[in-house]
């Protein structure tokens, strides 16, 4: 996975999203150790302070925990990860629905279309 940022929004927000996505998709699996702030900053080519802030935010949400000597770990609370996954899904759904609204579809019509698409695929 590569780190890509769109230019309009704060990098910090995008880092939080990307890290959360990596955790819920298992790229950084439950209970696994995360690379250090400096390593991650170098990998993403972002400012270490910004990376640090993003990690602190995730820690605040309970998705990450710090062990004083051995570094940062992804939570092994599967329910928490599942909730985060749903929260991220919610954002996509909201985006989808508001786009559809712009096109003049009601929520029901939009969902119907999405369901059709799902059926088509099968």
């Amino acid at each position: 996975m590569s780190w890509q940022f769109d230019s309009e929004r704060p990098i910090y927000t995008q880092l939080v999203e990307e890290l959360a996505l990596r955790m819920v998709t298992g790229c950084y699996g439950p209970g696994s150790r995360l690379p250090s702030v400096r390593e991650l900053a170098a990998e993403a080519r972002v400012n270490p302070n910004t990376m640090q802030r993003a990690m602190a935010e995730l820690e605040g949400r309970g998705l990450l925990r710090t062990e004083r000597t051995s570094g940062r770990f992804v939570t092994d609370d599967l329910e928490l990860l599942e909730n985060e996954k749903r929260r991220l899904a919610r954002v996509h759904v909201d985006n989808f629905l508001s786009r559809m609204a712009e096109l003049g579809f009601t929520t029901e019509q939009a969902l119907e279309l999405a369901a059709d698409k799902g059926v088509d695929n099968q």
Partner: protein
């Protein structure tokens, strides 16, 4: 012992003119440890002048500049790692000689780190600088500067004249060797490439700071990238 200052760099009404031309005009600036700061502005906005003042190559016309609480001099130079905007090494020297020279003069120089970075570059240690390409020479200069464990790094246009691949290398070297007790000041007019690396920026225009702030705060407020913001501030 000098009085302890919380700032690595502090400028008060800093002014420098060259004849009738005012390069910096009443600049007030404070840089605390632990940041990568972008000094952004078009050519001739005073970026190089500020860097030269900070390492004592030139003296202020008025006002003052302090490095870690003291005036620039031999003492402050042992804390400042400066990358000038020119090729400043003797071409006859071998790469290994220059590394040893840096190790000799700067107590904070990490010799092993330097040699390992040189090896990463696939540069022959025994090669004379005159045999290296311009881009490689610039990378060697950056390696020397970033192999110091200095308090303040002053990088004047480090990605100015190099290709995109080299830019990536340079930016990685800067992040990889930066440590949290120090501050890096990077001057550039190529904002797009460095933007994600910075956490604070100063926009310099005709010798004055016209905008300053945290990168994410500025992006949040304006809803624009710094690159776009820069084009707006410096529109002709």
């Amino acid at each position: 012992m000098s009085e302890h200052s919380p700032y690595l760099l502090e400028a008060r009404s800093l002014t420098r003119s060259f004849g009738r031309n005012v390069a910096l005009s009443g600049l007030d600036l404070r840089l605390a440890p632990g940041h990568i700061v972008g000094l952004l502005g078009p050519n001739g906005s005073g970026k190089t002048t500020l860097m030269k003042l900070a390492c004592g190559l030139i003296k202020p016309t008025a006002g003052e500049i302090l490095i870690d609480g003291e005036k620039p001099g031999p003492e402050s130079r042992s804390k400042v790692a400066y990358l000038p905007d020119t090729s400043y090494l003797n071409d006859n020297m071998r790469v290994s000689d220059i590394v040893e020279m840096y190790a000799d003069f700067y107590a904070d120089f990490d010799r092993e780190a330097a040699f390992s970075l040189i090896r990463d570059l696939k540069v022959d240690e025994k090669a004379r600088l005159s045999t290296l390409s311009k881009g490689t020479r610039e990378k060697v200069q950056l390696v020397l500067v970033m192999s110091r464990r200095a308090k303040l790094y002053l990088l004047d246009e480090p990605i100015g004249g190099v290709d995109p691949a080299a830019r990536e290398y340079i930016i990685n070297t800067i992040i990889g060797n930066y440590h949290p007790e120090s501050t890096v000041l990077i001057s550039t007019h190529l904002i797009y490439d460095v933007e994600p690396v910075l956490d604070h920026v100063l926009f310099l225009k005709e010798g004055r700071i016209v905008m300053e702030g945290g990168v994410d705060e500025l992006r949040e407020q304006s809803g624009k990238s710094l690159d776009a913001l820069f084009r707006e501030v410096f529109r002709c």
